[in-house]
């Protein structure tokens, strides 16, 4: 369980996180979504007590991260920026971190095998590829078998097999009742793993909703209609309050009406339809819609609603 209340972080020249309040609950995968530079990594650093908030507060499992006596057992974190001494082997890196909590060597070796770094465990971390670095970071996060797992862009640099493994890992952790908080700037990735979404733009909260509601609430619910009687249908649909635009020759793109409404209206007027396809906005489109609005608000200096 992660709780942020009015979390705000100012750096010298800009506000990176702006009055952010949210809760991350156990048992589901919560996606933390936002464009690059929107404040996701800063928020995660604030959660871990690496940076101090300018205003507001954030707790993990009921306490500030710094107040935990065994933080690695509470939160396992993978930060986006590399956090490994390049001159030290993967095994010694994990061992040094494990020793702060008295975690045994056998646990370190176990995790090295689990993340598939067995063959390179004695190699210096500076020689690791991006993907190997991510695997080492994930092993670090799992050291303390934590209640809460927080990963910043975990699939970056991973091969398809590794990406698949991460998705399964996140889902199984959530299924075990743990709190899973994972950031990404890729909506497609979130649509495959997350149950709940926290969306931010320019450091501000844009949405805190389930993935299903996020899609349903997206402003563009489009229906593609193909008809030989375009002009007639246009008139009918406009009368019902729909917005019609030409997507292609003979293909109309209708918003503001459901496929059922369009089909029934066409039948009542005896208009022939060759195609009637409800087109749900993708998570990507929904997200672009939301953040575009946010960027406009920010640009004109108005407060976002």
């Amino acid at each position: 369980m992660i709780e942020a209340r009015g979390l705000t972080k100012d750096y010298a020249d800009k506000r990176a996180v702006d009055d952010l309040s949210f809760e991350v609950h156990p048992g589901v995968v919560t996606g933390f979504l936002g464009p690059n530079g929107s404040g996701k990594s800063t928020t995660m650093r604030l959660i871990l007590g690496l940076d101090r908030p300018t205003k507001g507060d954030v707790t993990v499992n009921g306490k500030h991260y710094r107040e935990h006596n065994a933080p690695l057992h509470e939160v396992g974190a993978l930060l986006e920026a590399r956090s490994v001494h390049t001159g030290r082997s993967a095994r010694n890196h994990l061992l040094a971190l494990a020793q702060t909590h008295g975690i045994r060597r056998s646990r370190v070796d176990e995790l090295i095998d689990v993340v598939g770094l067995h063959d390179v465990a004695k190699k210096r971390a500076g020689q690791f590829s991006l993907g190997m670095g991510q695997r080492l970071g994930i092993a670090t996060a799992l050291l303390g078998d934590p209640h809460t797992i927080m990963l910043d862009e975990p699939v970056n640099g991973l091969d398809p097999e590794g990406i698949h493994w991460i998705r399964n890992l996140l889902k199984s952790f959530a299924a075990e009742g743990r709190t899973v908080f994972v950031s990404s700037h890729l909506m497609s990735e979130m649509s495959l793993t997350a149950d709940h979404l926290i969306v931010i733009g320019r450091g501000k909260l844009i949405a805190d909703t389930s993935v299903a509601d996020f899609l349903a609430g997206a402003s563009k619910q489009l229906v593609h209609v193909r008809t030989p009687q375009g002009a007639a249908l246009r008139e009918v649909l406009a009368g019902l309050g729909g917005t019609v635009s030409d997507a292609d020759a003979g293909l109309l793109e209708v918003s503001g009406l459901t496929a059922e409404q369009i089909g029934e209206a066409a039948a009542a007027q005896s208009i022939v339809l060759h195609e009637l396809t409800p087109h749900q906005a993708s998570l990507e489109e929904a997200f672009m819609d939301l953040t575009r609005g946010e960027l406009e608000f920010a640009a004109t200096g108005e407060e976002a609603a």
């Binding site: 650093r45 871990l48 007590g49 690496l50 940076d51 101090r52 991260y65 710094r66 935990h68 006596n69 065994a70 933080p71 690695l72 057992h73 939160v75 974190a77 930060l79 920026a81 590399r82 956090s83 490994v84 001494h85 390049t86 001159g87 030290r88 082997s89 010694n92 890196h93 061992l95 040094a96 971190l97 020793q99 702060t100 909590h101 008295g102 975690i103 045994r104 646990r107 176990e110 095998d113 689990v114 993340v115 598939g116 210096r124 670090t140 799992l142 303390g144 078998d145 097999e161 590794g162 698949h164 493994w165 399964n168 890992l169 199984s172 952790f173």
Partner: protein
């Protein structure tokens, strides 16, 4: 790796100062450049005095009577510590700044978010390692150089007044440098800046004092960290230097200030 489930772990340990010390020991010994620097410091601390004594001994007959009378057998014995202080000082800075430059500090502070145990552990581990390596090194350097010089009847015995204090003092001096430079590195968080500050304090500022009027120079120089610290290595009394233990106490005070300022900044600053 898709087929493997994550094994759980029933173990629940908490962070203690002793565990953080063990962790810092693992960190120190597991970086190749650290091991090499310490080995080089040890070899030079022992090797240089032997070399210097051999050279002095072979040229002894070319020395003027005045040179022979003024010769201080302790000088070649402790010359190695001059070189070792460079290696120890740079390592002291790197022990912390390498964590900042590589990003390791984020992993370190995620594991130990209270932070201060990390600073104390680094200070204890690096100070102990320095003393444990340097004490035998200066002892070996003293006894081997004096046995070479004894052929010329130009050596000190261990029981000569002040000798034991000066030789052991050399190891203590290097140990305090270890702690002081860790403090400097923590304050500056930057390898180049830390090494520059260390070099300025120990190698640049002392000779610059010579441009001051003599009375100012005499009044200020004894209180500079390097001069105060090296008072313990001297057995000849210079009216313008501090007494050995007074100087060493002041030197320890400087190191303590560096560490306390470092600690205060460490808990406040963002990472």
């Amino acid at each position: 790796m898709s087929a493997i489930a994550i094994p759980g772990s029933a173990f629940r340990g908490r962070v203690t100062q002793a565990r953080v010390i063990l962790s810092e020991w693992t960190k120190l010994r597991s970086v190749r450049s650290t091991r090499w620097s310490l080995l080089v410091a040890t070899v030079l601390t022992i090797g240089f005095p032997i070399l210097a004594s051999a050279v002095i001994s072979s040229h002894w007959n070319h020395r003027s009577p005045a040179e022979r009378v003024n010769f201080n057998p302790l000088n070649p014995a402790l010359i190695g510590s001059q070189i070792a202080q460079l290696a120890i000082g740079i390592l002291g800075v790197l022990v912390i700044t390498a964590e900042y430059s590589t990003g390791m500090i984020r992993a370190t502070f995620t594991a130990v978010p209270k932070r201060l145990p990390v600073l104390w552990a680094k200070a204890i581990v690096f100070a102990v390692v320095t003393f444990v390596l340097m004490l035998p090194s200066v002892l070996i350097a003293f006894f081997s150089s004096q046995s070479i010089l004894s052929a010329r009847h130009a050596s000190y015995s261990w029981s000569h007044p002040g000798v034991a204090r000066a030789v052991i003092g050399a190891a203590l001096y290097l140990t305090v440098i270890a702690v002081m430079t860790l403090g400097i590195g923590t304050i500056l968080r930057n390898t180049a800046g830390g090494i520059a500050a260390f070099a300025a304090i120990f190698f640049v500022i002392p000779p610059l004092m010579n441009v001051l009027p003599q009375s100012w120079n005499d009044a200020i120089t004894p209180y500079l960290p390097s001069n105060a610290g090296r008072a313990i290595l001297s057995i000849t009394h210079d009216p313008h230097s501090l007494a050995p233990w007074t100087g060493f106490a002041l030197f320890c005070g400087y190191a303590a200030i560096a560490l306390v300022v470092a600690a205060a900044l460490l808990v406040r600053r963002d990472t």
